[in-house]
Subunit: 335 residues, 2 copies
DNA sequence: TTGAAAGCGCTAACAC
DNA sequence: GTGTTAGCGCTTTCAA
């Protein structure tokens, strides 16, 4: 097995504690001389710190864990980038574990691999935890924060304002002359889908438009959801503009519309929600409501930091990061 | 802090070792009665195992670590899926850490967060380690295996046969009547780029075509690399077909060609390498040489297993997984 | 079947 | 500055 500080201590002729001090850089407590000898022995023996031992005695570590609902969500990467950057800046390490979004058992496994060791905090990316798993998380006393996910109660999260997203997207279409506007791919019940739908409805109503049931196609934010919805709308739909639940959904709509022989945006305008790189690689490029995923990651790390420092669960912990409209080529002004 | 086995032991009125036995399911060494009492106490106290302590004494864990070169590579997700599935099947847990591909310091940090604790093995996804970091990895005595990455020496890896990839892609174009064939987006020096170029050249030569320097545009597998190369080729290029280093590169070529007013595939055929989902969401859908990334992940886990079990570094450890051609819509037969 | 005791590799008082 | 000591939470002999 690997060398330990004892081995080094023996080799150099000092006490293990001295080695420990050198290795932890407590520079007030050793001479440059010992430092040099120790460092050299470390090199020769190929010594590697055993973090398990360190964490056991210190009861805290500098690793932040991110639990991600699925490998495929295309914005997860941007959030992780943000987490990584901010973590790195502060000397923390990041580990991420993946978990099927739906399966409770898998969620639990992912959660356990993370909270069964002394991590400094856990960030949960757009993952809807079951009741049991939520309880698990609470009991673990590990600081945590949800990202790209909201709650009605007082759980800590950082996300975008989904009502505003729905509202802004719809309003944008209305301002471009659209009156018959579809909403596609949202899930019906949870927080996000509900709020976005509410925003959509508010925008319509405020502008004297009565929402029609047939304009609404729920789904799972996927490419296929977009395709399917467009098929249902049909080639001769009265709809002139549609709000898509995600970039992928928007592309599904786009391709299916094209297959119908519809021109985008002349015959059908599309505005998508998310604003990931995908918007820029399809033609026409997708106009989108862009979320600042990177920033969510950054703030998430800060939330964990706060919680570690203050040990105070009651400070303000729900945070909404601003969105913006990225005008590209998929919305047509029909005035 | 969290409850420990001592707390449970005290509460139930048994020794810590007994609690440990129950928790580890060594069912020969306790009565159902004690089991029940212990389990109940665990529940009431919200006890959570401290893996740091377990790993310290057992000196091994059931977590496999994956080091990924960047969040953005779009095939990393497929490899991770494969790893996850196989790991899960065998009761291992997966953690992944991200590392900038280029920066040596970042690589080192990523590597250390992983090998400084007793992981059972580490999988490195298409990451080119510096000499120092390679040494670090070797010294750690942790079993490892590179994925989607090859070597000339005897380091363990599982990958596709890059020479065959280059050859097959080029041959496919030739069989469809193309004689002037571009190669775009590969990096010039390392293993992958060199081999694919070799395969490309062999296919050309075997068919009596003399490769031209101007058909070759190196790059970094990115979208922009594709765009740039196409710009260099120009609107009036003699090239009728091109092999793209990655799906993203292919899309870059596609869009730039379109901007030139070229029709794909009638005026320009494109075959891309990788075959991720991206190929299916652009129009026309991209014909590709598809790599079996999922399988790479699966095999990677098995490699780690082998190495743990046999403790034998010398067994066959370089593995090539077969590729296939996915015919879609971006190659035109000009015969 | 259970308990007592040792020890994994490390850090953190405390004494010198 | 450095050594000695205790102990983090757990598993694992060894006895009983």
């Amino acid at each position: 097995m690997s060398a330990t500080i004892k081995d080094i201590a023996r080799k150099v002729g000092v006490a293990p504690s001295t080695v420990s001090r050198v290795l932890s850089g407590k520079s007030k407590y050793y001479t440059p001389e010992t430092e040099k000898k120790v460092k050299q022995a470390v090199e020769e023996l190929g010594y590697k710190k055993n973090q398990a031992a360190v964490e056991l005695v210190k009861k805290q570590s500098n690793v932040i864990a991110a639990v991600v609902s699925s490998v495929k969500t295309n914005f997860a990467g941007e959030i992780i980038d943000g987490i990584q950057a901010e973590a790195s800046k502060n000397g923390y390490n990041l580990i991420v574990v993946y978990s099927g979004s739906a399966d409770t058992e898998e969620q639990k496994k992912a959660l356990l691999t993370v909270i069964e060791r002394p991590v400094m905090g856990v960030l949960l990316l757009s993952i809807a935890l079951s009741e049991d798993n939520l309880k698990l998380l609470d009991e673990s006393n590990t600081p945590y924060c949800f990202l790209s996910m909201g709650f009605d109660d007082d759980r800590p999260f950082v996300s975008s304002d989904d009502e505003i997203i729905g509202y802004t997207a719809t309003k944008y279409l209305i301002e471009h002359g659209h009156r018959k506007i579809g909403l596609v791919g949202l899930d019906k019940y949870p927080y996000t889908g509900r709020l976005r739908t509410a925003g959509y409805t508010r925008a319509l109503l405020e502008n004297g438009i009565t929402p029609k049931q047939s304009w609404l196609e729920y789904g799972d934010y996927s490419y296929v959801a977009g395709e399917l919805a467009m098929k249902k709308f049909g080639k001769d739909t009265e709809i002139t503009g549609v709000v898509a639940a995600s970039d992928l959904t928007a592309i599904g709509i786009l391709n299916q519309a094209r297959n119908f022989g519809l021109r985008v945006p002349q015959d059908l305008s599309i505005i998508s929600i998310d604003g990931t790189e995908m918007c820029k690689i399809v033609q026409p490029q997708l106009t989108s409501i862009s979320q600042n995923f990177y920033e969510m990651g950054v703030i998430g790390v800060r939330q964990i930091e706060q919680r570690v420092k203050t040990l105070n669960k009651t400070f303000e912990s729900q945070c909404l990061v601003p969105i913006k409209i990225s005008e590209r080529q998929s919305v047509f002004c029909i005035e």
